[in-house]
């Protein structure tokens, strides 16, 4: 019982402290001459701001500092300059393979996920009998917990008695390949992860695309039909531009989450020989081997990669994302 009591107590005190702080902020801003509504608004968002400063801004800077130090969780961090980065870039036999696996995984799953779920959303956008049941089925994988998803697929891909090896066994015979050790063989591990993620990805993305498709005004299609446009032209000239903001959102969110794959991979537990993802490497380095400095350095590399990809996508938006009411030049 006592393991719950302490936490519960602190859990009740925290919002009181936050409310108190918000009140002080409100009074201070009023003193500075802010209008009542403006001060209220700022006070309302202050809990997020406080959390951001303590748990995001400070840790971000501190982890950058740690990445230049030698630190094992005990004692004090020792400044070693760029040594951690030099080590992971040149000497670390786990670093580059994990970068490669993570990048390849994102490169394949993001386009497959976005294009595939758009196509499925278009199928589900038909008004036919029983479409509701199909929508529910297609959404099911998205509600499955990561643990269950990982374990199901690990079992399906099992090398000795997995269903997938059984289904493809005729092909394996033709090419004279033995049973494939999907999650144990570096040649196949990427594909196994891609197939698994595609199954999980479709649900959420499809619903969002479906919402986007339903938001495209019917009148646009009707006008195009009067002009004699066929389905192909309608798709490229109306559907795609109209839902391009949704595509942008899906691409960005897809990149961010694909590069951060962790829980599923921890439960699939690919053998070290087969390869691990960057987030797993960060976790292992930091909390298993207690090389906090190296772990921070790898984390920062991952951060820079995510930032670069996201900015690249945003930079490309004027070319293909169409916003309502925007004047085309």
């Amino acid at each position: 019982m006592e393991q719950y009591l302490g936490t519960t107590e602190r859990w009740f005190i925290t919002p009181l402290v936050l409310m108190f702080l918000a009140m002080i902020i409100y009074l201070l801003l009023r003193k500075l001459g802010w209008k009542a509504r403006a001060a209220t608004g700022f006070a309302l968002v202050s809990p997020w701001l406080i959390g951001f400063i303590i748990f995001t801004a400070f840790p971000l800077i501190y982890s950058l500092y740690l990445s230049f130090t030698n630190y094992s969780l005990f004692g004090t961090p020792k400044w070693i300059g760029l040594n951690n980065y030099i080590y992971i870039f040149t000497n670390d036999y786990e670093f580059w393979p994990s970068v490669r696996l993570t990048l390849l995984y994102a490169t394949f799953t993001v386009p497959i996920g976005v294009i595939g779920s758009l196509m499925i959303a278009m199928l589900l956008n038909n008004r036919i009998k029983g479409i509701g049941a199909f929508r529910t089925i297609y959404y099911l994988p998205a509600v499955m917990p990561d643990v269950a998803v990982a374990l199901i697929w690990r079992w399906l891909f099992n090398s000795q008695s997995g269903l997938i090896n059984y289904v493809i066994s005729p092909f394996l015979k033709i090419f004279h390949i033995g049973k494939i050790d999907w999650f144990g063989d570096p040649k196949y591990v990427l594909w196994a992860f891609i197939i698994m993620s595609v199954w999980g990805i479709f649900g959420t993305n499809t619903v969002v695309f479906l919402a986007g498709l339903q938001g495209v005004p019917r009148s646009l299609y009707e006008v195009a039909e009067l002009d004699g446009a066929n389905s192909w032209i309608k798709f490229w000239k109306i559907t795609i531009p109209q839902i391009s903001p949704v595509i942008l959102l899906q691409v960005v969110m897809g990149i961010i989450s694909a590069l951060q794959i962790f829980t599923v991979a921890m439960f699939v537990r690919p053998t070290t020989g087969a390869g691990i993802f960057m987030n797993q490497l960060i976790y292992n380095r930091g909390f298993t081997q207690l090389h906090m400095g190296q772990a921070s350095a790898i984390a920062w590399v991952l951060f820079v990669i995510i930032l670069a990809f996201t900015l690249l996508v945003f930079k490309s938006t004027p070319a293909w994302v169409h916003y309502e009411g925007e004047i085309k030049r």
Binding site: Q3, G6, T7, T8, W11, P15, L18, W34, A38, G41, F42, L44, V45, P47, W48, L49, G51, F52, F55, P59, L60, Y62, S63, I120, L123, I128, F134, I137, Y138, P141, V143, M144, P145, D146, V147, A148, L151, I152, W155, S161, A211, G212, G215, M253, I256, Q260, F262, M266, F267, R269, T271, N279, I282, Y283, G286, A295, F303, L307, T310, E324
Partner: protein, 290 residues
């Protein structure tokens, strides 16, 4: 003339029927692929230890061993893990949804200097990998002497730590006509009263969707528990499953693992079927079009 028109209509009808048939076939084929893993999970869960490694695999367990569920459940102290998980889910959800709604309310309905800049920063935190802040955050909780307690998993929820949900709620809140706030204000309502009586009822679908999302988040969380909980008595369901899998080189008992996978997925599936309408509506209404 009438005849030609009639024939045209008829051919159109035939075309429609073919189109529909193809659509149904494609939809069903994909549905089977999506459902197959679910079927295989259930089928494996009911098999005997010897049956699971049969080659070629049996599609149906014979006989179906429903007792596997009880056996798997009692193989580890899942009773305690379940209580711990429920504890974390309830505390986390209440704190997170309350704080995020208030923060989103502040962003959506009030004008103040720096608002757009702060909101932009909030959105950019979505790009921040969780693992970058992981080690310093761990050090903070260590300094506070709370590593090993449930605190690191639930206390932070009070600071509205889900930027995406704030974004969703803000989009939703911006869709509510301002006249409603103003009318309430003229009637002498304080911002808090306006919030509870005018705003909250309007955003119910969004809140329900976020309930499902956050439930999934806390129920699913693995990184938090594996980092902060080191006492067996504090393990959650997800963390319990991690140890239930056994060592790296062990061949797990797949029937029991599949049984527990079903158990761990069950709350999510039930919640989804209850909230399904709101869930999908909640995503639909996010105003992603603009």
């Amino acid at each position: 003339m009438v005849d030609i028109l009639h024939m045209y209509k008829k051919s159109n009808k035939v075309r429609n029927i073919t189109k529909k048939t193809i659509l149904y076939i494609v939809l069903s084929a994909i549905a089977i692929v999506i459902l197959m893993p679910f079927f295989w999970m259930l089928s494996t869960a009911l098999k005997s230890n010897a049956d699971i490694f049969a080659w070629p695999p049996d599609f149906f367990p014979k006989p179906a061993l429903w007792g596997n569920f009880a056996k798997a459940w009692h193989a580890m102290p899942f009773n305690i893990y379940l209580i711990n998980s429920i504890f974390i889910v309830v505390l986390g959800m209440v704190a997170e949804i309350t704080s995020e709604t208030l923060v989103a309310y502040g962003f959506a309905r009030f004008k103040f200097p720096g608002r757009d800049l702060i909101f932009f920063i909030l959105l950019s935190t979505m790009m921040l990998p969780f693992h970058v802040t992981l080690i310093p955050t761990y050090l903070i909780w260590q300094k506070l002497g709370l590593v090993g307690q449930f605190d690191p998993l639930v206390i932070r929820a009070w600071t509205a730590w889900g930027p995406f949900y704030i974004f969703l709620l803000r989009q939703f809140l911006m869709g509510i006509p301002f006249e409603l706030d103003e009318a309430a204000e003229i009637d002498g309502a304080t911002p808090l009263q306006t919030f509870v009586h005018v705003i909250l009822p309007q955003i119910k679908p969004a809140l329900l969707a976020i309930c499902v999302f956050t439930f999934r988040g806390y129920w699913n969380d693995f990184l938090g528990p594996v980092l902060y909980l080191n006492d067996m008595n504090k393990y959650t369901m997800t963390l319990g499953m991690y140890f239930f899998m056994g060592g790296v080189n062990e061949q797990p008992s797949w029937n029991y693992l599949m049984a527990m996978s079903i158990v761990i997925a069950l709350p999510m599936l039930v919640l989804f079927f209850i909230a399904q309408r709101y869930f999908i509506e909640g995503i639909t209404f996010t105003g992603l079009k603009d």
